[in-house]
């Protein structure tokens, strides 16, 4: 398509990949953390909760900077990953990490709210039927919170599609490697007279995120209808 140049298509493809991977990889952890925060009492509960919300509170640039310090060549995690041959700094995997971390609080909050809304008496009933905690979760809690998980995932995906500050600070803006849609938009906005290119990219990103939103609404409504028996 002549509308976007090859480098721009690359940014679109990369953003999609980064956001999808960030969302899908963090989803199980998100569900786990949300469940822990919603249903367990343990020392460090408040600490974990705070930690999860940190990326929301910090200016994204700061989060990116902290990631750079941690996962950069000199950083503690960076050295470890380097030694394992799995360096993520300045790779698309790093962009996914940044996007995932920035989106994590949104995902966890959404899932946690759904878990808190599940009637614990149903979980009790499952326990009396012989299901241990993990099975109760998998067969009762999880199916009942699917709409919330979906909402959380889509929220996270949308956030990941729009994430810029942390990503560009952490993994820079290398086309094909780490240049996501928002980074490309930023780069265009820095050059006089390239606003039109920026706007085209913005429209693409809005279209993608909207499609994800509409799809998730439809799915969620279907799930809800099945449970309500309407």
């Amino acid at each position: 398509m002549g509308w976007l140049g090859p480098e721009e298509w690359q940014a679109v493809a990369l953003s999609l990949r980064v956001s999808l991977v960030a969302t899908l990889v963090s989803l199980p952890l998100g569900v786990f953390v949300a469940h822990a925060l919603a249903r367990w009492r343990f020392p460090g509960h408040a600490l974990l909760n705070g930690l999860v919300h940190l990326p929301l509170i910090l200016p994204p640039v700061v989060t990116g900077y902290l990631l750079l310090l941690t996962f950069g060549a000199q950083g503690p995690m960076g050295r470890v990953l380097e030694a394992l041959g799995m360096s993520i700094a300045f790779r698309w995997t790093g962009a996914a990490l940044a996007a995932g971390i920035m989106a994590f609080p949104l995902m966890v909050r959404a899932i946690r709210l759904s878990i808190e809304a599940v009637d614990p008496r149903l979980e009790e009933a499952a326990a009396t039927l012989g299901a241990p905690r993990a099975r109760v979760f998998a067969t009762v809690t999880l199916p009942l919170i699917l709409p919330g998980v979906l909402a959380g995932a889509v929220l996270a995906f949308a956030k990941a599609m729009g994430e810029f500050g942390a990503t560009i600070t952490f993994v820079s803006n290398i086309p094909g490697q780490t240049q996501t849609l928002p980074s490309a938009v930023y780069a265009f906005l820095q050059v006089p007279g390239r606003e039109d290119s920026a706007i085209r990219l913005v429209l693409v990103s809005v279209a993608i995120a909207m499609a994800a939103l509409v799809l998730s609404e439809l799915l969620a409504r279907r799930m809800a209808r099945r449970v309500a028996g309407g």
Partner: protein
């Protein structure tokens, strides 16, 4: 043998650098990739092991930091570009402003003067120095709207949110939504320079070739067309 280069460049140089890279690739057969972002961001990434071969900074202070840290190849640093500092107005018919006469404060009235962050971003720091030098700063300091970068300051003026702004000449050239009403005299602020250097350990032949290419006539013409000045000329 074809090589691949990764160049970290200040975002404001994008159009010129893209064009020059195409010329260089055609000539040398090498492949150039850019990462455009704010100079401070790029410098920090280089400090933290970014795989950049070349750094083109809009900010001498950050290049100094890298140099002191031994992160650039010895002797590779040079001042590649210069720029002018101009006063722009939203109104295309705005009358020129005589900065020396000190009547700017009156012209500004209640309005805002858009600049980049005056203590953090080079364009803002140059602008503050110039306004101070001209004895205007103290009278208008409370009306300065500081943007996070010079392009955002430009946007404030071109959208009409602020009637006046201080930006680089290269920015003003490209935006038809603003008119230049004054150019700050070169001695009213420290010289505006864009240093470039090879990153330590990356001085491969292709990299050195690219750095040399940046100072060719052809490259210079591109930079000038974008409103940059070439030092020493």
């Amino acid at each position: 043998r074809a090589d691949s280069l990764l160049v970290f460049a200040a975002a404001s140089t994008r159009d010129a650098m893209d064009e020059i890279a195409t010329l260089f690739e055609g000539e040398s057969g090498h492949d150039v990739t850019f990462s455009y972002a704010g100079s401070s961001v790029l410098a920090r990434q280089i400090q933290n092991g970014a795989p950049a071969d070349v750094f083109l900074s809009a900010n001498t202070a950050w290049m100094d930091v890298l140099e002191e840290g031994g992160l650039i190849a010895a002797g590779s640093r040079r001042d590649l570009l210069g720029n002018t500092l101009v006063l722009i107005a939203h109104d295309p018919e705005a009358a020129p402003v005589d900065l020396a006469a000190g009547d700017f404060a009156t012209r500004l009235g209640e309005g805002y003067l858009a600049m980049a962050l005056v203590d953090a971003v080079p364009a803002g720091m140059y602008g503050k120095a110039a306004l101070a030098h001209l004895g205007i700063w103290d009278r208008i300091a409370g009306q300065v709207a500081q943007a996070d970068n010079v392009r955002a300051a430009l946007a404030l003026v071109s959208t009409g949110a602020a009637p006046f702004g201080v930006v680089y000449g290269s920015d003003a050239v490209a935006d038809p939504g603003v008119s230049v009403v004054a150019t700050f005299p070169g001695d009213s602020h420290p010289p505006i320079t864009y240093p470039v250097a090879v990153i330590a350990g990356h001085d491969r032949p292709a990299v050195t070739a690219f750095l040399s290419f940046l100072t060719t006539e052809a490259a210079g013409a591109v930079f000038e067309a974008q409103g940059f000045t070439l030092p020493g000329r």
